[in-house]
């Protein structure tokens, strides 16, 4: 359940930014989560729902944008789409494919009033 800790970190970043920019309310929140990141989007949304309650971002529309996984096959050198960390290379069926993208966990932006 480290999604709860992630949700608390997100609230922290959102409230800090909103206060610094003189906002009184956060109405929208967009996150970028990589496909290979160690986080379950459904669980994160559930935790955010709980954590945002009573905060500046209470009731904010929360959206998770999934960033695609990408990797480079160390066997054939191809840059390939990767949907799980241990999947074989879709081109040569070789191992290992080193992830080069899709492990991000970012707060992208917020909509404020």
């Amino acid at each position: 359940m480290h999604e709860m800790a992630l949700a608390e970190s997100i609230l922290n970043i959102v409230e800090e930014t909103a206060r610094n920019r003189g906002a009184i309310r956060v109405t929208g929140l967009r996150l970028e989560i990589g496909e290979l990141a160690n986080v379950e989007s459904e669980a994160l949304l559930f935790c955010l729902d709980v954590v945002l309650r009573g905060s500046l971002a209470d009731g904010a529309q929360t959206e998770i944008l999934t960033l695609p996984g990408q990797g480079q096959c160390l066997e054939c050198g191809a840059i390939v789409r990767l949907s799980a960390l241990y999947d074989p290379c879709p081109q040569c069926d070789g191992y290992p494919v080193r992830p080069t993208g899709g492990q991000e966990m970012r707060v992208k932006d917020i909509q404020v009033e």
Partner: protein, 269 residues
């Protein structure tokens, strides 16, 4: 539904929600770009810990595993073997009790326990505070025994030099595939409880193949903390890390000394 507050009414114009900031539904709010890592705050505390470890010449290892892999037995044997050579200390994380810290103290090393309560991992902030309650093992090794969990601790940098993942042969050999994030983050894997291999259906070769598939750069050592078999290679690995950190500390101090001498020479001219 109103996109501004989700109040469920398709109305326009100003209204109030029963609190003191009435707003205009026709008005567009401001968009603030943030683009910040969710774990940025933890990363900041981790960088602080890492700086402190570098300054004091401490080689810090973050030990992660499932519950019951034998981390505490391994650490008790390790600190017993190394404590005469250089200072060692242990920070242990568990949801409850100080039992692990007591076992380490009995083995002769200072240890503090962080009880995470409902938390499933240690974070860099908690480790920073634990350091206030522990004599810093200057020029030696700090072992951080994370909460037994192969999922969450993978994401939380504590400021360590390396993550060491401990897997025991009483678990499934496919754990490197099932918990790939953790095995991908580790520098070293210890396959523990090898004395039990004759009694369990654990395919060592397959396990090592899975581990390398997930992390081709990871070093792998096999040992039994209980019998001591294979412990020597692990202890050597720790010694090498400790010496590398000391070498880095020496070069940093020498560089500082050189620049201080250069300043003095300029001033004295």
């Amino acid at each position: 539904m109103c996109a501004t507050c989700g109040c469920g009414i398709n109305e326009t114009g100003s209204h109030s929600h029963g609190h003191d900031h009435p707003h205009d539904h026709a008005a567009e709010g401001r968009l603030i770009s943030i683009e910040r890592d969710i774990l940025a705050k933890n990363a900041g505390f981790a960088a602080g810990n890492r700086r402190l470890f570098a300054e004091r010449g401490v080689f810090t290892l973050n030990l992660v595993s499932s519950p019951g892999s034998g981390k505490t037995t391994l650490l008790a044997q390790t600190v017993q073997a190394l404590r005469e050579e250089f200072p060692v200390a242990v920070i242990g994380g568990d949801q409850q009790t100080a039992r692990d810290a007591e076992r380490i103290q009995a083995a002769g090393a200072p240890a503090v326990q962080i009880n995470t309560g409902k938390g499933c991992h240690l974070d860099a902030h908690g480790v920073g505070h634990a350091l206030e309650r522990l004599p810093m093992p200057e020029g030696g090794v700090l072992f951080i025994e994370n909460v037994g969990n192969l999922v969450c601790p993978a994401d939380f940098d504590l400021g360590e030099a390396d993550k060491v993942v401990v897997l025991s042969v009483t678990e499934g050999e496919d754990k490197p595939l099932k918990y790939a994030n953790m095995f991908a983050a580790a520098r070293l894997m210890l396959l523990n409880k090898t004395d039990l291999l004759p009694y369990v259906d654990f395919d060592v070769e397959r396990c090592l193949e899975y581990a390398r598939r997930v992390n081709p750069d990871m070093q792998i050592l096999q040992l039994s903390a209980r019998t001591g078999d294979g412990m020597a290679a692990w202890l050597d690995w720790v010694r090498q890390g400790q010496q590398a950190v000391l070498a880095q500390q020496i070069s940093r101090l020498e560089a500082e000394l050189t620049s201080a001498r250069a300043r003095l020479a300029v001033n004295g001219r």
